[in-house]
């Protein structure tokens, strides 16, 4: 069963067709890789799914319910978290505060009560420990290394316990040791039931990590399936090698 269904999604920017009747299904419990050459529309798909840019045509459904037209905050509250191509954190908030911002609370009273309820604080510290960055809990985000920011961004997204996480180039600008660690974290979180949709250029990372792969080319999904079978598809080889 698909957790996320993208059906005939299209987006134009002036004369440029960024996404062209693209259809993708993300199975529940999978780590789905979204790959394609530069400019194939991967990030545009991410931005439309998460409500950052409006679609022209098509539909996006999460758990069989349409989420078109909803703002990014509402989509996040439904259970879809995302990270950005370049790690984005709140630079003047501490790492711990960065973790507390995404926590979902119900009711107006809860909103105006203390920012760091003890149980939320404990959960945030546990997550920082899980990601091996607990030592920087009280350091402001702007003082963290790029790798620490990447991990913090991932941790913060997970604080709201999303069912689906969209990762935009998690391997970008990251050294091989950290990349291995990020891959391991994703696998462990996936084993806890979180579904991932990952945009990535690092092919060995994608092929080792993902259970499903979708290939985009000129805004269209040209192939999908298990990594090994997608790798052999002539259309994919054409798109990547220009043969």
């Amino acid at each position: 069963m698909s957790l996320l269904e993208i059906d005939n999604l299209s987006k134009r920017f002036g004369g440029v067709v960024a996404v062209d009747e693209c259809s993708i299904a993300v199975p529940a419990g999978s780590i789905t890789g979204l790959i394609g050459p530069n400019g194939s529309g991967k990030t545009t798909v991410f931005n439309m799914v998460t409500g950052f840019i409006p679609k022209d045509t098509g539909t996006v459904s999460f758990k069989s319910k349409p989420i078109d037209g909803l703002g990014p905050d509402r989509i996040y509250q439904l259970g879809i978290g995302r990270t950005f191509q370049l790690a984005r954190i709140f630079p003047r908030l501490t790492a711990l505060e960065n973790m507390l911002v995404p926590v979902r609370r119900k009711g107006l009273r809860a909103l105006f009560s203390r920012a760091d309820w003890s149980d939320e604080r404990v959960r945030a510290m546990e997550m920082l420990e899980f990601l091996d960055i607990a030592q920087v809990a009280n350091t402001v985000g702007g003082a963290l290394s790029y790798g620490q920011r990447k991990l913090l961004e991932l941790g913060a997204v997970l604080m709201a316990e999303p069912e689906l996480v969209l990762l935009d180039e998690p391997a970008g600008g990251v050294n091989p040791a950290l990349l291995e660690k990020i891959g391991e974290h994703i696998r462990r979180l996936n084993s806890r039931g979180i579904t991932f949709l990952v945009v990535e250029h690092n092919m060995s990372f994608v092929m080792n990590l993902c259970t499903e792969v979708v290939v985009l080319h000129r805004g269209r999904a040209i192939a999908s399936g298990k990594p090994d079978s997608v790798r052999q598809e002539p259309a994919v080889l054409d798109a990547y090698l220009g043969a």
Binding site: T50, F52, G71, P72, D73, Y76, Q77, G81, R82, F84, R88, I89, F90, P91, R92, L93, E97, L100, V101, P102, V103, R104, R105, A110, L111, F112, S113, R114, A115, G141, A156, V157, A160
Partner: protein, 335 residues
């Protein structure tokens, strides 16, 4: 840690006690007049900081809310036929409520913009209000001004009720600001200040948060404007919807520390008495504008983060440099 907390609370209590006793300590009308305006700017800067400091949305149009609150109370007193005395103070919250409704409408549109565009929209809105106050002659009295009833209090006592009204509003603004700063809502506002799109991506309903902060900030400024109108007893569009009032509160926040709780208070306590001292010593000249320009330059060049954040960093650095007192060195450090 606990000791620092106790010291902080004790300091706040002492400062508040001094503020409460000030009219008894220094009853001279010239001093209480300075105290009224200083307390007014403590409240204004604190209220402005709830929007400008916490969310990073710089409004230069808050003087519009100040004037609107002032006119609202003036018109209420005139139309309801309320006599001078203490009763007009009871209507100040009504002026705040009316300003909140206005801010809701203005914020709905203005907060669709960001950064420099938002600044310009707020300035435009302020001048629109000033023009309306000048041209709706039948309602506001236009350029001829609007009079408030004058209380029959003696010269020695006259400033005291206004001082306490300003003190109450400044305390209210500080209480709200403190509460917001420590809350989940406040954390959301600070997240908006740092990266609004990222805040949206992690579920902060940025539009609702910004609008709430804008309305709360404007309502407080409107109430302070209402007390100001009653204090000066006659208001004119160009003096009550005055860009300089708006810029003053912004400058005080920048001087003290943007987005901090104590920064706006400190900024107001430094700048407003300095401005009044210049006015008293050098007549009604606008010499204080030169002072403001100098302070603005100094803040940008020397203290871009303001006094409180700069001091905090300095203290932190010193603390980190100071070696821990406990373990003695195990090895001699002689060369």
């Amino acid at each position: 840690m606990l000791q620092a907390g106790v010291l902080k609370i004790a300091g706040i209590i002492v400062l508040f006690a001094i503020a409460l006793a000030l009219p008894a300590i220094a009853p001279d009308p010239a001093t209480t007049n300075i105290a009224v305006f200083t307390m007014m700017y403590v409240g204004l800067a604190t209220a402005w900081n709830i929007m400008g400091g916490y969310t990073g949305y710089i409004s230069l149009g808050h003087a519009g809310f100040f004037g609107f609150g002032s006119y609202t109370l003036g018109l209420l007193l005139a139309h309801l036929g309320v006599a001078a005395g203490y009763t007009p103070f009871l209507l100040v919250p009504v002026a705040g409520l009316a300003t909140a409704v206005l801010a809701l409408g203005i914020g709905w549109f203005a907060l669709r913009t960001r950064a420099a565009t938002f600044v310009i929209v707020t300035i435009a809105f302020m001048f629109m209000l000033q023009l309306l106050a000048e041209n709706l002659v039948g309602l506001t009295g236009g350029g001829g001004g609007l009079g408030f009833p004058v209380p029959p209090w003696s010269g020695d006592y006259f400033n005291t009720p206004y001082y306490y009204a300003m003190l109450a509003l400044a305390t209210l603004a500080l209480g709200i600001s403190w509460r917001i700063r420590r809350s989940k809502f406040g954390l959301g506002l600070l997240a908006i200040r740092d990266d609004e799109d990222k805040a949206l991506a992690v579920g902060v309903p940025t539009r609702a948060f910004k609008l709430t902060a804008f309305v709360v900030s404007a309502a407080l400024v409107g109430m302070i404007g209402a007390v100001y109108g009653y204090y000066v007893t006659y208001i004119y569009p160009q003096f009550v919807v005055d860009p300089l009032i708006g810029i003053s509160m912004v400058l005080m926040v920048f001087l003290g520390g943007l987005g901090t709780l104590s920064g706006p208070v400190l900024g107001a306590l430094i700048l407003e008495p300095a401005q009044l001292w210049l006015a008293y010593n050098y007549g009604a000249s606008r010499l204080y504008l030169v002072l403001y320009a100098a302070v603005f330059l100094a803040v940008i060049l020397v203290l871009p983060r303001g006094i409180v954040p700069s001091l905090t960093v300095l203290i932190e650095r010193r603390r980190m440099r100071t070696p821990p007192a406990a373990p003695a060195p195990q090895q001699a450090v002689m060369p």
